[in-house]
Amino acid sequence: MKKVKAQLWIKNLKNFWSLYKTTKKGVIGLIIASIFVIIALLSPWIVPYDPYEWNVVQPFAPPSSTNILGGDDVGRDIFSQLIYGARTSLFVGFVAAVSTTLLGVFIGTVAGYFKSLDSILMTFTDIVLVLPSIPIMLVLAIYLGPSIWNIIMVITITNWTGVARIVRSQILSLKERAYVDSARAIGAGNVHIITKHILPNTIPIILASTILRIVNAILAEAGLSFLGLGDPTAISWGMVLHYAQSCGGFSRGAWWWIIPPGLLIGLVAVSFTLIGYSLEAVFSPQLRRS
């Protein structure tokens, strides 16, 4: 039985990959994203200088052969900061995307499956959806104080609504299927039905949306950090931009301090967006045809 299952998994994965690799954008996105993930994982070992150390280069030094992106106001090496920043930005992106998805799946499942809770949960979802997310994040963040985990929490609190709505609508249709009725007829409980028979069917759509959440989370972290709510002990791309703006990057015209971090954020965001869209296309036959 186990062997059959494993074979089925491999067959499905192969199937999936043969479809995915036909999407040119998806492959490009995957390559770029993988490069960033590898850099993030290896960053402590591949940085040329300690990104926290002062005076490794002249303050505001322009790019040179030893420091390819120059130095900041206290002489830290900007190139090393950016390599190290990939770690923080991607970490926040992944963790916040996963926690957002978990919260959204939980609320969406409960709303979709239990009719009595549906309207109250969906009204709540709609309220959170209607409220402007950046202002809520700001208000929450100033109370919680600056730390990586608080940023992740704030992003989770404001971003779960989309997932909840998708999951709810999926579950509303899935729970009416005949196989769910048969499971119930032989005495399966709600938790068993939800976890074994309903949720597995929603995994593809949830996966695609999680990838797109990563983009949201990375941009949100950058925005919060830029506005001075980032973790002062961690280096992220948003923090680099925050220091560039508040510590005289402009009065020195330090383009090497301002341009690269934004380009990196944009590149990562585009690559994950491409992956997300391609996954959606692969998983939904209607999109595939067009």
Partner: protein, 324 residues
């Protein structure tokens, strides 16, 4: 369900949402560890008598329910508390003074961006899959993926530092006497061109992608086939038949995205040191000015909720296909 019921239903939802915002704003400082007075009034070192007085004044010795009613009552009467980074000025006064500056940025940006975005979106959808479409969607996607404030930072760096065509900061030149209104307007426009431009570019990217996708859907409709079969010109079909129908949901979407636009203004005004509501928000965040930040959130949230209500109702009125 008829139109009237629909409007009532949406209004009730808006009301619930506004009440939820009040509750959120009320509970937040009281959920935090430590003394609520610290968050509500911000006094770091208070004399015991002052403390007592403040507790009485803000009713912190009363029950939570009474406090909530009092808080809501004061807020509804325009009393959002006292800012403590700009003590003792009331939050409401600070916000209302800054509001016109922000509207002056957002209005032109949204109008230009939606006009341009809709036009380009129509053309892209018409030749979907073609070179123009690919360029428009890819560029739009890239701009949309950039951190918004970065676009503003780069524009500031290029057009105010390297090529100093525009000023580095502010909305008007400091300490200048204007001969007439026209001079004032000219000075403001000189300062506001970059902020408006960066807001426009960012909003344009979102609007044009929206318009393109809606338009592609509309072009699959049967009435477009009919129009083509009737031998109408491309121009007529494109603008009179397709774009008109695609525009309604897009214009609704634009109204619904007021929250994003306002968020955009926080970043733009911060980058350009433009003294609007957005910069006030940044100051509140940096100074940890809790009453001011909460007041700003309350007003922003209510504005967005009301914009949503209006968009819903107007959309339902204009589009007979909407089923409630």
């Amino acid at each position: 369900m008829g139109m009237k019921d629909y409007i009532i239903k949406r209004s009730v939802f808006a009301l619930i949402a506004i009440i939820a915002v009040f509750i959120f704003n009320f509970i937040l400082p009281r959920l935090m560890p430590g003394n609520p007075i610290m968050f509500v009034m911000g006094g770091t070192k208070l004399m015991p008598e002052t403390r007592e007085m403040l507790i009485k004044r803000f009713g912190l010795d009363k029950s939570v329910w009474e406090q909530f009613v009092a808080y809501t009552w004061r807020a509804l009467h325009g009393d959002l508390g006292i800012s403590f980074s700009k003590y003792p000025r009331p939050v409401t006064e600070l916000i209302s003074k800054r509001m016109p500056w922000t509207i002056a940025l957002l209005l032109p940006a949204v109008v230009i961006a939606s006009g341009l975005g809709i036009f380009v979106g129509v053309l892209a959808a018409w030749k979907r899959g073609g070179k123009f479409d690919l360029t428009v969607t890819n560029v739009g996607l890239f701009i949309w993926s950039l951190p918004f404030f970065w676009l503003a930072l780069v524009m500031l760096l290029v057009f105010a530092y390297y090529y100093p065509i525009f000023p580095l900061r502010g909305a008007v030149t400091r300490g200048i006497e204007y001969a007439n209104v026209f001079d004032f307007f000219k000075d403001w426009l000189w300062h506001s061109t970059l902020p408006i431009l960066s807001l426009t570019i960012w909003n344009y990217a979102g609007y044009t992608l929206m318009m393109r996708n809606t338009m592609v859907d509309v072009l699959h409709e049967e009435y477009i086939v009919t129009a083509t079969a009737k031998g109408l010109s491309d121009r007529t079909i494109m603008f009179k038949h397709a774009a008109r129908n695609a525009m309604l949901p897009v214009v609704t979407q634009i109204t619904l995205s007021l929250g994003f636009t306002l968020s955009g203004s926080i970043f733009t005004e911060t980058v350009f040191s433009y003294p609007g509501v957005g910069l006030l928000t940044y100051d509140a965040v940096i100074m940890r000015d809790y009453p001011l930040a909460q007041g700003l959130f309350l007003i922003t949230a209510i504005a967005v909720i009301i914009a949503n209500l209006l968009a819903d109702v107007i959309y339902a009125r204009l589009d007979p296909r909407v089923r409630y």
